[in-house]
């Protein structure tokens, strides 16, 4: 993110009431639209705008082995497997490429904070609406650097 956005985020960070307000505004919208689970590090744009943290196992990198044949969840048979929905929506929106992204472990400190502010402050990776992955995004951070070097060399 740019220096300007970092300064804006910094201003919010210094004023707890403001950042709580930003969080509240964000969570109200996202709870209503996406049943957001408030992890503070949004991956909606990678998952065809379907929140993967709704999975009982909080799987961020794809479905566990227990999806039933009809696409329902092994833990709650009355619900759909969230990754089944993510796959179906990604297919329809032609965003399958985005599913290849490697998601690093969740930073639990960011729970119940505004993902938008975290993005402006550079604490999380920026969300992009593009349907394509940026080069290297399918690798974990260290491998991505190695691959970059390889392609340069």
């Amino acid at each position: 993110m740019s220096r300007l956005s970092e300064r804006v985020a910094g201003f919010f960070d210094r004023h707890p009431l403001l950042s709580k307000g930003a969080w509240l505004a964000e969570i109200i919208v996202k709870k209503a639209l996406f049943r957001c689970q408030d992890c503070g590090q949004c991956v909606l744009s990678y998952n065809a705008f379907t929140c993967c943290m709704r999975c009982p196992k909080e799987m961020r990198n794809g479905p566990c082995g227990g999806t039933r044949e009809d696409g329902h969840c092994e833990v709650y048979p009355e619900r759909y497997c969230i990754w089944w929905l993510i796959y179906e929506r990604s297919r329809k929106l032609r965003r399958l490429d985005k599913l290849r992204k490697f998601h690093i472990p969740v930073d639990r400190r960011l729970q119940h904070t505004s993902a938008w502010l975290n993005m402006f402050a550079g604490r999380i990776e920026p969300l992009t609406l593009s349907a394509r992955l940026k080069p290297g995004e399918e690798y974990p951070p260290r491998r991505a650097k190695e691959e970059e070097k390889k392609s340069e060399g």
Binding site: E58, G66, F102, P105, P140
Partner: protein
């Protein structure tokens, strides 16, 4: 060579490997592990030690792996993300490595609801892809937080794949992620549906994944039609072709039929291009392993020619 484990050396030398699986005791009786080791030593190349499978409390996978080592078997320690956060996972991995456990299989883990403590809190701090990444970072000399590790470390990392769950394309995307996260070998769910496995395997070959990772196909000997129906109806993500259920129903001796079916599936898997080994899961029927391996013509088990010890960090 990453770990220099027996399993890794055999795979890299191009041998067709056989793995077994045993469940640690539901108690503190280590003799059970030593007794079960008799069924695997000299008949398989490595044995998986499950980590509280189906969320039922058993002896810890790391400690059982150490006992399996003492019993003369090469252990593959299974580790799930259900019960431990990333701190506990890494510390347990360090301890197991220090005790000589060189293979690890990273799993997400069955949900608590299915076990004997359905009221427990689940951890699920990392998921299995991230756990593979964490161990791979440890292989590169740092913890998953980025801090450097003080001593050399190298484990042969495995992941699981389910060729039978839908949607298949999503499964392949996830398999690719596991490989890029640092998995060296993949063990699959038990094969009871050959056409479907064939379809999955050809997609795997199209992606070139069989060249980047060692794929070990799962098989499971069953004792009765009841066990097979339980698998079909109660274990999500398992597919069983009706043909096998009919065969078990009409069999005079279901145990013999179960062995015959298992050997038949193994013989088929042995000639599938890209399959580098078999993973036998004799759930609560460990004693049948020697017979199955022998009937499939996989005895005697080879000895690796290359020596173990300090390996260089070379990817599969």
């Amino acid at each position: 060579m990453v770990s220099g484990s027996r399993l890794e050396r055999l795979l890299r030398e191009g041998h067709f490997v056989v793995c077994g699986e045993m469940s640690p005791p539901q108690g503190a009786d280590k003799e059970t592990i030593f007794r079960k080791c008799e069924y695997f030593r000299n008949y398989v190349d490595a044995v998986n030690l499950t980590d509280n499978q189906t969320a039922i409390v058993r002896m810890s996978s790391a400690m059982s792996s150490v006992f399996a080592l003492a019993g003369g078997c090469e252990p593959i320690m299974q580790m799930t993300c259900r019960d431990r956060n990333r701190l506990a996972q890494q510390s347990e991995i360090l301890g197991a490595y220090a005790a000589g456990v060189l293979n690890i299989l990273c799993l997400t883990g069955d949900y608590m609801k299915f076990g004997n403590h359905p009221d427990a809190k689940g951890c699920f701090d990392l998921d299995s892809v991230q756990l593979i990444y964490a161990v791979s970072e440890m292989n590169a000399g740092r913890f998953v937080c980025g801090e450097e590790m003080k001593s050399p470390f190298g484990m042969f990392i495995g992941g699981a794949a389910n060729p039978f769950a839908e949607p298949m394309k999503m499964r392949l995307i996830r398999l690719g992620k596991k490989i890029r996260a640092g998995a060296h070998f993949i063990q699959t769910q038990p094969v009871f549906d050959i056409p479907r496995f064939e379809k999955w395997m050809s997609a795997v070959r199209d992606e070139g994944y069989d060249q980047q990772v060692f794929i070990l196909a799962g098989v499971m000997p069953v004792r009765s039609v009841k066990a097979l129906l339980y698998m079909k109806n109660e274990v999500p993500g398992v597919r069983i072709a009706d043909e096998y259920i009919k065969r078990m129903e009409s069999a005079k001796d279901p145990k013999e039929e179960g062995v015959a079916m298992c050997v038949e599936i193994m013989k088929y898997l042995m000639q599938v291009p890209g399959v580098r080994g078999i993973h036998i899961m004799p759930v609560m029927w460990e004693s049948i392993t020697p017979r199955i391996v022998e009937e499939a013509g996989l005895l005697p088990r080879p000895e690796p020619k290359t020596s173990g010890g300090e390996g260089s960090d070379e990817q599969a």
